[in-house]
C-alpha cells in the first residue's frame, strides 16, 4: 500500500473520497504528494472507465491485442479530460469568482473527484449495470461539486454554479477549439483498433453476425442430401463481418 507523508494510505484516500469526506478534499491540497495521489486515482478511474466502455470495441470486432492498445488510449484520453476539467475549474474559480488558488491545488481535488469512477468497470454487470451507471453518474457529479467547493473555498451554491459553468465551457470547447483534438483522439483510436469503428451500441439491434445465412441455407440444401445433413452442418457456417 502506498503511503504519503501527512495523508492516509492510497486505499484509505480512495475510500474517503468515495464517501465524499470533505476532510480528504481539504487535506490533499496541503500535502506534498497530493498531486501524485490524484494522478494515480485518475489513472485507475480512466482504466476502469475504458473497461466499462469497452463494449464498443467488441461491437466493432477489435482483435485482442489491439483491444488492449485501444483500452490504454481510452484511459489516456481520460487523463486529457482530467486536465481539461482542472483548467476549466481553475479558470472559473480565478476569473469568475476571484479566488486565489493554485492550479496544483485544483488538480488535486479534481483528481480526487474521479474516485467514484474507479467503480466504472462494474457498469458491465448484466442487468444491474445500467442502474449502477446512473448511480455512478450522480455520485461523480456530487464528488465534482464537492471538489470545486473545497478547492475554491466556495459556498455550495457557488460550487454548483462553478461546476455548471465548467461543464458548459467544456461543451463549448469540444464543439469549437477542441474539435481538432477530439478528431485526433478518434483517429488515434481507429489506428489502435485497426477497424473503422463505425458501429455504436445503438446499432447493435440491426447488426447480424451471420447475415449470409438465409442465402446459404437455400443453396446448401440443394447441394446436400438428407443423409449428409448431420455430417455437413458445419459447412454452413461461414465467418461474416457484421452488417447493419
Amino acid at each position: 500500500m502506498v503511503e504519503f507523508t501527512g495523508m492516509p494510505s492510497l486505499w484509505q484516500t480512495i475510500q474517503q473520497a468515495m464517501r465524499l469526506d470533505q476532510n480528504i478534499f481539504a487535506d490533499i491540497q496541503r500535502v506534498p504528494g497530493g498531486l501524485g495521489i490524484a494522478l494515480i486515482i485518475v489513472s485507475l478511474a480512466g482504466l476502469s472507465e475504458s473497461l466499462g466502455q469497452s463494449v464498443i470495441l467488441f461491437i466493432n470486432r477489435v482483435r485482442p491485442r489491439r483491444f488492449m492498445l485501444a483500452l490504454l488510449i481510452t484511459a489516456a484520453s481520460h487523463l486529457v479530460g482530467y486536465l481539461l476539467w482542472t483548467m476549466t475549474v481553475w479558470v472559473v474559480g480565478v476569473y469568475v469568482f476571484g479566488q486565489t488558488v493554485s492550479l496544483t491545488a485544483i488538480a488535486c481535488v479534481v483528481g480526487l473527484a474521479y474516485a467514484p469512477q474507479i467503480l466504472a468497470f462494474f457498469e458491465l454487470t448484466p442487468f444491474l449495470g445500467n442502474p449502477f451507471s446512473i448511480l455512478l453518474s450522480l455520485w461523480s457529479m456530487v464528488a465534482v461539486v464537492m471538489a470545486v467547493q473545497m478547492g475554491l473555498a466556495l459556498e455550495l451554491w457557488q460550487a454548483l454554479l462553478a461546476s455548471g459553468l465548467g461543464w458548459a465551457f467544456i461543451q463549448i470547447w469540444r464543439r469549437t477549439i477542441g474539435r481538432p483534438i477530439y478528431a485526433l483522439g478518434r483517429w488515434l483510436q481507429r489506428r489502435a483498433t485497426g477497424v473503422p469503428m463505425e458501429f455504436t451500441l445503438s446499432d447493435l439491434s440491426l447488426l447480424r453476425r451471420h447475415r449470409a445465412w438465409p442465402e446459404n441455407l437455400g443453396n446448401w440444401r440443394t447441394r446436400m442430401s438428407q443423409r449428409d445433413l448431420r455430417g455437413n452442418v458445419g459447412k454452413l457456417f461461414k465467418r461474416e463481418q457484421p452488417r447493419a
Partner: protein, 335 residues
C-alpha cells in the same frame, strides 16, 4: 468478539467484491464471441440417442428443443427427473423429435466442463454437486444466472440471443430439420432457460420460416422482443412456484409500462398463462416430480407431460391423447 465480527465483515466484503467482479466480467464471453475471439465453431456433445430423445425421425411433425434450468453444465441431461420427463414426452409424442443436447448458457454450446481455461474447476464443481455439496452447485447456478441476465440485458441481448438462435438452428439441423417443410418448432424453456428460449426467437425467426412456439415451464424471463416474434407462448406455472415470479423484476413485465413487449404481447393474445396446479419450481413437489400426486391421482410429472404434449398436438394437428383437455386462454388447466 469485535475483532471476529470485523474479520467476518472483511471476509464477507472480499467474497462480495469477488462475486461483483465475476458478474462484471461475465459478458466478456458473449462479447468475445461476437468479436470473433473464440472462432466460429458450435460445439456438440455427441450424445447417442436413448431411443426416445435425440432420435432422428423422418417426416416428423414437430421439433421440440428442451432447454434446461440453470443447474446444467453441458448439453447432457444428468437430472433423472428431466430424463424421465423427456422420455415420457417422447412416448406421448411419437411423431416429434425431442432435442435436449443444447447447453443454453453458452454462446457456442460449449459445456462448462469443456472450457479451455476453467474446465477443471467446473468438473470439480460438477463432481461436488453430484456428491451433494450445495456450494459447488450454487456456483454453477450463479454462473448460469449471469448468462440469463446477459440475455435479458438490452446491451448484450442482441448478441447473446443471436448466438442462441444459431445454436438452436444448429441443433435442429443436426436432427435433420428440413427448413423447406416448415415443421413447427417448440422451444421448452425450463426455469432460467425461459429467457433463453424467448430471447432466441427474435433471431431464429429470421433464419426459419416455420411456426415457432415457446413453452415456458416455470420460466423466468424479462419483457423481451421475442415475445412479439413467437407464434404463441405458453407460460406454465405452479401455484407454489415463486422463482418463476423473479421475471417480474424486469420493469417491462409490470402493467405500468403498457408499451413493453410483454404487455403488447398480452394484448395481442400471443401469451397464454397456464396454472397447472400446486407445483413448486423444482425437485420434490416440482413440475417433474413423479411421486407427488394431484387430487385426481395423476402425478405432477404426468400432468406436466400431458399439458405440454397437448400444446404440441394443438399446433401440429396430431391426434389427441387419451387424457387430453383443452388449452384455452383461461388461467388454469385442470385434468
Amino acid at each position: 468478539m469485535l475483532e471476529t465480527l470485523g474479520d467476518l465483515a472483511t471476509y464477507f466484503g472480499i467474497v462480495l467484491m469477488g462475486l461483483l467482479i465475476w458478474a462484471a466480467l461475465s459478458p466478456f464471453e458473449t462479447l468475445g464471441w461476437w468479436a470473433g475471439w473464440f472462432g466460429e465453431k458450435i460445439y456438440v456433445d455427441n450424445l447417442p440417442s436413448d431411443g426416445f430423445v435425440r432420435a432422428v425421425r423422418d417426416d416428423s411433425r414437430g421439433y421440440i428443443l428442451f432447454l434446461s434450468g440453470i443447474g446444467r453444465v453441458s448439453g447432457e441431461t444428468f437430472s433423472r427427473r428431466e430424463q424421465g420427463f423427456l422420455q415420457r414426452l417422447a412416448v406421448a409424442l411419437p411423431d416429434a423429435v425431442i432435442i435436449d443436447d443444447i447447453f443454453p448458457y453458452s454462446v457456442n454450446n460449449l459445456a462448462l466442463t469443456g472450457q479451455p481455461v476453467f474446465a477443471r474447476f467446473w468438473r470439480w464443481a460438477l463432481r461436488r454437486k453430484i456428491d451433494g455439496a450445495a456450494l459447488a452447485g450454487n456456483l454453477i447456478n450463479l454462473r448460469n444466472v449471469l448468462q440469463v441476465l446477459i440475455s435479458a440485458d438490452r446491451r448484450y441481448s442482441p448478441i447473446y440471443n443471436q448466438a442462441m438462435a444459431e445454436v438452436l438452428l444448429h441443433g435442429l439441423l443436426r436432427y435433420n430439420y428440413d427448413v423447406n417443410r416448415k415443421t413447427p418448432i417448440f422451444i421448452v424453456g425450463y426455469s432460467g432457460a425461459g429467457q433463453m428460449a424467448v430471447g432466441a426467437v427474435t433471431y431464429l425467426r429470421e433464419l426459419i420460416d416455420a411456426p415457432i412456439y415457446v413453452v415456458s415451464l416455470g420460466g423466468i424471463f424479462s419483457s423481451d422482443p421475442g415475445l412479439l416474434a413467437v407464434d404463441h407462448m405458453y407460460h406454465i406455472y405452479g401455484t407454489e412456484d415463486w422463482p418463476q415470479k423473479l421475471g417480474l423484476i424486469a420493469p417491462g413485465r409490470w402493467p405500468l409500462f403498457a408499451a413493453s413487449e410483454w404487455n403488447r404481447a398480452r394484448r395481442q393474445e400471443l401469451i397464454t398463462l397456464l396454472n397447472i396446479g400446486p407445483m413448486c419450481h423444482t425437485s420434490t413437489g416440482g413440475y417433474l416430480d413423479i411421486k407427488s400426486l394431484l387430487p385426481s391421482g395423476v402425478s405432477y410429472l404426468d400432468h406436466t407431460v400431458a399439458v405440454i404434449s397437448e400444446i404440441v398436438r394443438k399446433h401440429t394437428q396430431l391426434p389427441a391423447g387419451s387424457n387430453s383437455f383443452s388449452i384455452t386462454d383461461s388461467t388454469s388447466v385442470q385434468t
